[in-house]
Symmetry: C2
Subunit: 194 residues, 2 copies
């Protein structure tokens, strides 16, 4: 009795596994269990563990950026959209996320020094993310919501670091209220000037 598999579903399951356990600590046995696929099918569909990992990173980044774009479109202003993203959609405040930590942040701190293709993919995705942040800040500057002499790139950099800092803290703090407070503070800081 053979079972047919949906590549996207399997990728989602692999993503959750990698997210929680990390790349090195996730074995193919784990992936087989999670996806219900046998090694042959996994390799036919994804090529290798590293490629599957890269695909999962890409998928996650895509998902986040779609979400951010949606919030941006609904928001009254660029900064409001960004604040909503932090307060609502980011893994820090998303109850469905397996960890209250951005997958890319965790991957960055784990993976450094290893497979080159993975490192490249990660820095590509993070750069894209920073660029999006910067473009939103630029819109805010143009719209007059930020002082004209503001540096959008620098603001993006700082936001990226601030989010990563919160991720770190969220992982160790058992009291969800503390994290919620910190997230709210950051969102507020983004919305009402910095």
């Amino acid at each position: 009795m053979n079972v047919s598999h949906d590549k996207d579903t399997a990728l989602d399951q692999a993503l959750d596994l990698f997210w929680t356990k990390g790349y090195a600590s996730t074995s193919l046995k784990d992936l087989e269990r999670a996806t219900g696929m046998h090694p042959g099918s996994l390799y036919a569909a994804f090529g290798s563990k590293a490629k599957l990992y890269c695909l999962s990173l890409e998928r996650y980044a895509k998902r986040l950026s779609v979400l951010r774009a949606e919030l941006q479109a609904q928001a009254a202003s660029p900064l409001d959209g960004l604040a909503d993203f932090i307060a609502i959609a980011h893994p820090l405040s998303d109850a469905d996320a397996p960890l209250p930590v951005c997958y890319l942040v965790k991957a960055t701190l784990e993976t450094s020094q290893g497979n080159q293709a993975i490192d490249d993919k990660l820095s590509e995705l993070l750069s894209q993310n920073d660029a999006t942040f910067a473009s939103i800040f630029q819109q805010a500057i143009t719209a007059g919501d930020l002082p004209p002499q503001s540096d959008a790139t620098r603001l993006a950099r700082q936001l990226s670091a601030d989010l990563a800092g919160l991720c770190f803290y969220a992982l160790r703090e058992e009291d969800a209220n503390v994290i919620k407070e910190m997230v709210t503070d950051l969102a507020k800081r983004v919305r009402c000037q910095r």
Copy 2:
């Protein structure tokens, strides 16, 4: 021809390895190469890979806290000492560190969800660190360097997260000047109110 080994030296070498490669990606073969010890000696001295890792975490935390205490003793005020620590002694600005990333931060993001003893050790060390930060802020409040209504615990929490955020950014940014600037900014922010 047998070789006698110094436990502290071996521990330092193991620490550097774990720091750069992470726990899961560091094999006993790697540790043997780095320390020059054979498996039997390693196990006689340290018990297991996990125990060696815990010892390395402890040693690192101790090293950092000694450094911080020294700077604190020399500084004109508690906040000055803290700022010096960030600007001078923290891995972010220490050229000798194998990575511009606090070992505990990296370990926290890698290790979550695994060996219980490691998780416990990590959260113990991080709590100690936060407590030290908080006590320094408390001294600053008592000394009148911070408004009396300041919340030392909250300030410590925020500093911890800010440092972690910088670690994340330092790992991906190839331009050392950008990081230096961000570190200086944070040190300044700590020194001159927040």
